[in-house]
Amino acid sequence: MAIEVKLEDRIAWVNLISQKDNILEVEVDGVVYKVDLMHTADGTFSIIENGHSYNIELVPHKQPKKYTAHTLYKSLEVEIIDAEARYLKNRGSNGFSSNENTISSPMPGKVVKILVNEGDKVKEGEILIIISAMKMESEYSAPKDGIVNKINVKNGDTIEGNQILIELE
């Protein structure tokens, strides 16, 4: 069974060659690894490869086939690209488009102040909305010149992470 796995910007081709209990042979981009892989009771993968001991924790995202992987040294974004994922990707509908027409906050918080109204003309860099979270205020400005098309929140609203707050035309 061979598929592609995306790790940050890299796309790797992965293939399971053989398995006997917890001893696996896996090929990654042409390199064959013989690993002793255990899923420990506290939810971490303990992998021993050529004597080296690795601990990897996978935190699954809400989107299927996506993980944040934590190694002892860093955190990495991982995505499984199987046939289904490739199909969706080709259709351009995997839910992620770089949209310069919306303002959203990467974290949950509260709307402190909206500085514009629907229909206002705004200039690139103009501050549109102030969000507070954990006692810190963040100002969000227009990514480009435009007209405020829609404001989805009002002062004092509690917001989710990645919620679209303001839409520009």
């Binding site: 069974m1 598929i3 796995v5 790790l7 890299r10 790797a12 992965v14 399971l16 398995q19 209990d21 917890n22 696996l24 896996v26 990654v28 981009d29 390199v31 690894y33 690993v35 892989l37 255990m38 899923h39 420990t40 009771a41 506290d42 939810g43 993968f45 992998i47 490869e49 080296h52 690795y54 990897i56 924790e57 996978l58 935190v59 993980y67 992987a69 934590h70 190694t71 002892l72 040294y73 860093k74 955190s75 990495l76 991982v78 499984i80 199987d82 990467p106 974290m107 949950p108 918080g109 509260k110 402190v112 507070s132 979270a133 954990m134 006692k135 810190m136 205020e137 963040s138 509690t158």
Partner: protein, 501 residues
Amino acid sequence: MDQINKVLIANRGEIAIRIMRTCRELDIETVAVYSEADRTSLHVRYAHEAYYIGKSPSSESYLNIEKIIDVAKNSGADAIHPGYGFLSENAEFAKRCTEEGITFIGPTPEVIVQMGDKLKAREAMTKAGIPVVPGTKNAIKTEEEALSVIKEIGLPVMIKASAGGGGKGMRLVHEESQVVAAARAARSEAKAAFGDDSVYIEKYINSPHHIEFQILADGHGNAVHLFERECSIQRRHQKMIEETPSPLMTQELRDKMGESAVEAAKAVNYTGAGTIEFLVDNDLNYYFLEMNTRLQVEHPITERVTGIDLVKQQIKIAEGQELEFTQEDLFQKGHSIECRIYAEDPDNNFMPSPGKIYKISEPLGLGVRTDGYVYEGYEIPIYYDSMISKLIVWGKTRDEAINRMRRALYEYKITGVKTSIKFLERIMNNRNFIDGKYDTHFIEKNQEQLALSIPCEDCDDIVIIAAFIDYLDKIDKNRENNKEFAPAQSRWKNTPIINQF
């Protein structure tokens, strides 16, 4: 004053638990108060008693003086510990406690007023002969006034909340054009944090070191200092790492500043635990910055090198007892460092990262202390501070302490939210930090090195394998009749770890 038997802790998070720990060691019962967001927070579960005091925003709960006084009276608490932040430097709260016959564990309302108002504090210190940073004598009312003051003392300047502390309501201004926005932001933050939006202006000192002295003063005229804490590693004017002794300090300067700190405390008849913050420039001139009339976040490093439990001392002083030790009994033994663990994204301008904690592994073993409050599955509320834990280490030497901190940060794993852990690890590997050569601009000056994570090419392939196997197992579960992958042995599967409710 009488023995304290039951203490209400008017706070939340790690500091509430920190205080309850000492209370438990003193056989004092504890009363927690909690907002809507904190029903399942650890301080509620640690306390003997717990009472709901209002909605999640702190203005409707942790800052509600009358509600907290009510709970204290109804639960029979004979004292209130305010922790830090919230009402800890609110003179009105201290006054109301006293009026109701409840011991406020802290200084008198008069002292809080005097030192809490940064301008009055500067005045008192000047009188006592302690150097202060040049700046306005009075609060500024308007942005125009700010502009005129700045013309007088010259740029750059700091705009600071009069009622401030903890880096809140503070803005650095380099250019006149920034003044209006900076003053607005400082006022708004000050209002949110302290309920008072007046600000003042101070000359900005280049390459300053932020060094503070811990003091303890009893009601019998005795006062001592417990040496310095070096707090210059800051991001967004908030401390990130503290250590004691300070690598900048000389014994001569320590004696001089320590004396000034004790004089400062005596000048205002201070009682309890307090901190005198100084700015120290590269020529080792020092200036009084402000006095914090409460416990500091970073108090554990002082506890570690002196062996004194500061919360215990606060309680004893509040009971009217005399200090058990004099300046001559106190020594700094070894070296202690604290790293603050924030739920934030260091790679994205330290943006807060609230959310649900997935998994925690605490660092343990020799010379390591953690003071935290989050647990697995806990959702960090958006309403309060983003500091979720403090990691404190001790070593016989500064080198040993740095190595130990590196090891402890390596062991510390919190997933589910972004944290400052990996960033702190990079600081522990930074040559300038290791050499003790840093000031409050450390993070800006070293940002390039601090942005680099440790490369691990092998790890990458192993991560890919882990994700791949997890995926195979998942599709295997979906296709029960078509087993093409038998999952590796797993103890987890048969473990009834979770008590499903």
